[in-house]
Structure formats: C-alpha cells, structure tokens
C-alpha cells in the first residue's frame, strides 16, 4: 500500500477511536453522579410517582450500556432526543445555531490566517528590528488578554463611541451576505485579534528555527536575497508546523466562540451551550459537546494529513 494512503487510514482510524472514547466519556460523566439525574433536577421533594415517570421519560430505567448505544445511534442519525428545558427537538435546536457558529468561525479564519502568516513572515525577516520587538510585546499581551476584555474594548470604541458597527450581532433570518458580514464584524474582529497573535508567533518561531539550518546559510552564501531565502528555502519546510498551529487555532475558534457569542448576543451554538449549562439542560450540553468535539478532531485530522502531504520526507516512509 502507498505509505501516504496507509498513514491516512491510520490517522482516520485513530480519529474515530478518539471520537468514540470522547462520546463514551460525555455519556458516562453523568453516571458518576451520586444518585442520578432525576434527583438532581426534580429535587428532594419529588414524589415517587413523578420520579418514576421522569425516569421512564428519559429512559433511565434502562441499563447504562443500552442507553449509550441508543444515544450514540440517535446522534449518528441526527436525533439527539428532546431538551429538558423546553421539550423541543435538540437536533432542530442545534442545526440553525451550528450554521451561525461555523459562519462566524470561518469569517474570523478567513481574515486571521493570511494576516498571521504575513506578519509572522515579516517578523522573521526583520528579526531583532523595532517592528519585531513591537510585534513580540503586542502579541504576548494579546494572548494573555481575556476574550471578553478585547470584545468589550472593541464594542466600546467601534460601536458605542463611534457608532461604526452594531453592538448586537443578531442578523435574523434571510439577511444577505453583506448584511451578515457587517453585523458580525465585531465578534469576528475579536476572534481575529485573539487567534492571530498565537499563529503569528508560531509562524515566526518555525521560520527562525529553520534559519539556523546549514542549507539556509548555503542559500545566503550563494547570494540569494533575504526574501527569496525565506519564501523559497525556509517556508516550504516550515509548512507542516505552521499547518498544525493553524489547525489548532481553527479548533480553538470553534470552541472559543462561546464567550464572544455571549458578549455580542450572537445566536450560535456556544451561547446555546452556556444557557443550557445554566439551566442544567444536560442532553443539550452533551449534544453540543459531541458536535464541538467532532469538529475539533476533524480539524486536527485534516491538519495531520495536510502536514504529511506537504512534507515530502514523511511520504517516503522509513
């Protein structure tokens, strides 16, 4: 078998195994409760009849392994059961919000990834200059800022003081792309500021690591321009660490949206999850967790495969 194909299959199998383990964990976390969900939700004063009815409704009278298989089978076909808080279908509840969250994350990624790579390259190229030092301090600071701090600063200036963008990012249904991009600009910008710094630092570090290699010195000695050394000689070999950090940050975007969504009242999956945690609507939290974890694993898998595909050395096998 071609080594690339074998590696792909291996990674895919490993990803599936991880997802399976996570689904098991998400499901079993409830089993560790002393007593069960019924007592937690209905309280001590519930009559035995209501407890029994509630247990039957949730299927808690079945043994755990049967419930797990039932839950997993349902999840695979998009049926997550019903919400405890309002009795609605969880699948329906998630579908619309999931689209919104993906939109916001993709919006932020489309800006931040090229920006981070560009700034990282510049910082590596002009290492030790004032630009590099400024970028170093600025990115180190923005990494340590809580997301809501960045979000509220942007909100204060761009929305409240100067009135450029709306402070609430809800665009309703049927808005065209331009309106959607405009209304979600502030949350997207917040995410861009948070993830760009990390990606940029890693890009810079990956390139600088390579610049110490003998073949780079060779390229310099034969008279190649600094830009050519970085773009043609260093960058191709720095691609796989860069791809990894980009994927890591995209995965972060998917989960990091939670706080940004709350600040800007954006109707996404993250806000639904926070509301559900507060209401202890556990089936909704479990379903959202499973979806987030699935995307997270998928992104890491994609990064692995891309890193292999862009690194000729890995394709030859041992």
């Amino acid at each position: 078998m071609h080594p690339l194909l074998r590696m792909t299959v291996q990674r895919l199998a490993f990803g599936l195994l991880t997802l399976f383990a996570i689904s098991l964990f998400i499901f079993l976390a409830i089993e560790l409760l002393p007593g069960d969900l019924t007592e937690e939700i209905l309280g001590q004063s519930a009559t035995p009849e209501t407890v029994a009815a509630f247990r039957r409704e949730l299927g808690l009278d079945q043994p755990a392994h049967l419930r797990y298989l039932d839950w997993l089978g349902g999840a695979l076909t998009g049926d997550f059961g019903t919400s405890l808080a309002n009795g609605r279908e969880i699948g329906e509840l998630l579908a619309a919000r999931f689209g919104n969250t993906l939109f916001l994350a993709a919006y932020a990624a489309a800006i931040s990834v090229p920006l981070a790579l560009f700034l990282g390259l510049l910082a590596a190229l002009y290492r030790g200059s004032w630009f590099d030092r400024f970028v170093n301090v600025a990115t180190l600071s923005s990494i340590s800022f809580p997301e809501y701090f960045v979000a509220y600063i942007l909100l204060l200036f761009l929305s409240v003081k100067w009135g450029l963008f709306p402070s609430i990012a809800d665009f309703g249904s049927g808005a065209d792309l331009g309106t959607m991009l405009y209304r979600t600009f502030l949350p997207a910008l917040t995410l861009v500021l948070v993830v760009t710094a990390h990606m940029m630092r890693m890009t810079r570090a990956a390139i600088i690591n390579l610049l110490a290699q003998p073949y780079i010195e060779m390229a310099r000695l034969k008279g190649a321009s600094p830009a050519r050394v970085i773009l043609r000689h260093a960058l191709p070999n720095a691609l796989s660490p860069i791809i990894n950090v980009v994927a890591l940050n995209l995965a972060y975007l998917i989960t990091g949206v939670v706080i940004v969504e709350v600040v800007f009242v954006f109707p996404g999956l993250g806000q639904l999850m926070v509301d559900s945690v507060a209401k202890r609507d556990i089936p909704v939290v479990q379903a959202a967790c499973l979806i987030f974890a699935g995307i997270y694993i998928l992104l890491n898998l994609a990064a692995d495969l891309l890193a292999i595909a862009t690194n000729p050395r890995l394709m030859h096998g041992k």
Binding site: I26, S144, Y148, T255, I259, V263, Q286, C289
Partner: protein, 273 residues
C-alpha cells in the same frame, strides 16, 4: 534566581515582577486597603465616579474600588488553590507513571490522552452542567483539566531523568518509590515544572474568570473579577469604562506573568534571539 539575575532582566520582565508583587500585596492586605466591605451596599446603583466612591458603585450599589480589591484577593486565591491542586495531582501522577512504567503508565497515559482530546472549555461546561456550579466544583473541574496538561509535562521530563545512573543506583540500594520520586527525580525535574507553574496559573486564572464571566463560575455575592465584568456590562452601552476595569486587572496580571515566564524560559533555553 538571585538579585544579580534580576538586574540583568529586560524591562518587560522587571515590569512583570513589579506587577506580580503589587497584586500579591493587594491580595494579602485586602481587608486593610479596601475602604468598604466585600458585599457592603453603600449607595445607589451605578453611581458615577466621585470623591466618596472613586470608581462609582456597581449594579447593586457596592463600591467598585472595594469590590476590585476583594475580587483580586478571591480570584487570585481560588486560582492559586486550583493550580496547586492541579500540580499536586498532575506532577505526582506524572512522576509515578515515569518511575513505575508498565501498566500503571499505560493506564494513566491513555486516560490523559483521551481527556486532552476534549477542548478544555467544553470539558468544563459539560462537567459543570452535570455537577452544578459552585466554587468547590469549579476548583475540582479546572484542576482536573489542568492536571492532565501537567501530567504530560511531568512525565516527559521525568522520563529523561529516570534513565540516569544515579536513579538506577538508588533503585539498586533498595530505596522505595516515595524516595525515588521525591529525592531523585523531582529535584532534577523542578526547573521546567516551575516555569510551567506560572503558565498554568495564567490558564487557570483566565479559565476561572471566563467561567465566572459566563455566570457559571464563582457565584454572587462573592466578589470576583470575571463576574464583576458581567454584572456591570450594561454600563458599556452608555460609554462608561468601569466594567472594563476588572477585565483590565485580569489582563494586566496575565501579561505580567507571561513576561516573567517568557524571560525565565528564554534564559533557561540559552537562546539569544
């Protein structure tokens, strides 16, 4: 780290050290510094900045300056307790896995692999929804999450030490497991673990304040920097910067710690760029 080291530190690290010292002083002496009590209602809601209340009052009419001071003390204390717990568990199990090897190592490592594959925030939200919110649950949940990260590092560092001759010698002269972990491995694995402690503290501090900001962490009426942002967020829409102050206090401390850790790691790695 000695005084001469500090003299050669770059300005960012000096700034970091000064800020950290200031926060520690505020946290320790909060009862002496704070003009009002933690939950004392002293005036009307949302009073503007004035002589009596330098930063105004919050959504329930409590003095913002006092809340900031008490909040710093609470947030720092809870974050520190969580980090210590995470380090005790993570580093202890990491060293144990490295020293004993075999099935204990396999079991712990695979368990940690699985837990790390779940994004931290999701993990926290899931557990908090099941076990309910509250300071004790919050501390345990965050400590478990961070312990998995500490475990990885501690195990990796200890693995390099375990193969040394002096460890073998200690094993041969019949020292017990506790001695091996405490007297042979730990002193030689301490440096990277200490730098990691600073970084982990930042993560814990940010995670707890983020959850408090979401209303799922430290519950009222306890003062806490994250929930202060949430409580007063409405003021932002009137162009008032008061709600930004607790967020800025969080940011300032994490920036300061990062500057110091950056410098320590830089020195330890011997890099010149």
């Amino acid at each position: 780290m000695t005084l001469t080291d500090i003299k050669t530190a770059p300005p960012t690290a000096l700034f970091g050290i000064a800020v950290i010292a200031l926060y520690i002083l505020v946290a320790l002496f909060a009862p002496l510094i704070a003009p009002f009590g933690e939950t004392e209602i002293v005036g009307m809601e949302f009073e503007p900045w004035s002589g009596a209340y330098p930063l105004g009052t919050d959504n329930l009419g409590r003095d913002v300056v006092s809340r900031l001071i008490w909040g710093t003390r609470n947030s720092l204390g809870i974050a520190l307790a969580t980090t210590v717990l995470a380090f005790g568990a993570g580093a202890g199990l990491g060293l144990l896995a490295a020293v004993t090897g075999g099935w204990i190592d396999q079991l712990l490592s695979r368990l940690v692999d699985m837990l790390i594959a779940i994004p931290a925030l999701l993990f926290a939200l899931l557990l908090l929804s099941i076990y309910g919110t509250g300071i004790v649950n919050l501390v345990i949940v965050i400590a478990v999450i961070e312990a998995t990260r500490v475990f990885r590092l501690a195990r990796a560092v200890a693995m390099d030490v375990v193969v040394m001759d002096y460890v073998e010698a200690a094993r041969l002269r019949g020292e017990g497991l506790g001695w091996l972990m405490r007297r042979e491995i730990l002193p030689n694995a301490a440096a990277p673990l200490i730098a990691e402690f600073g970084l982990r503290f930042c993560f814990v501090f940010l995670a707890i304040s983020a959850l408090s900001f979401l209303g799922l962490g430290i519950q009222p009426p306890t003062a806490d920097l994250g929930s202060m942002v949430r409580d007063n967020a409405a003021l932002i829409t009137f162009g008032d910067i008061t709600p930004l102050l607790p967020a800025a206090a969080i940011a300032l401390l994490t920036v300061a710690i990062n500057f110091v850790v950056d410098w320590v790691l830089h020195r330890a790695s011997g890099l010149k760029d």
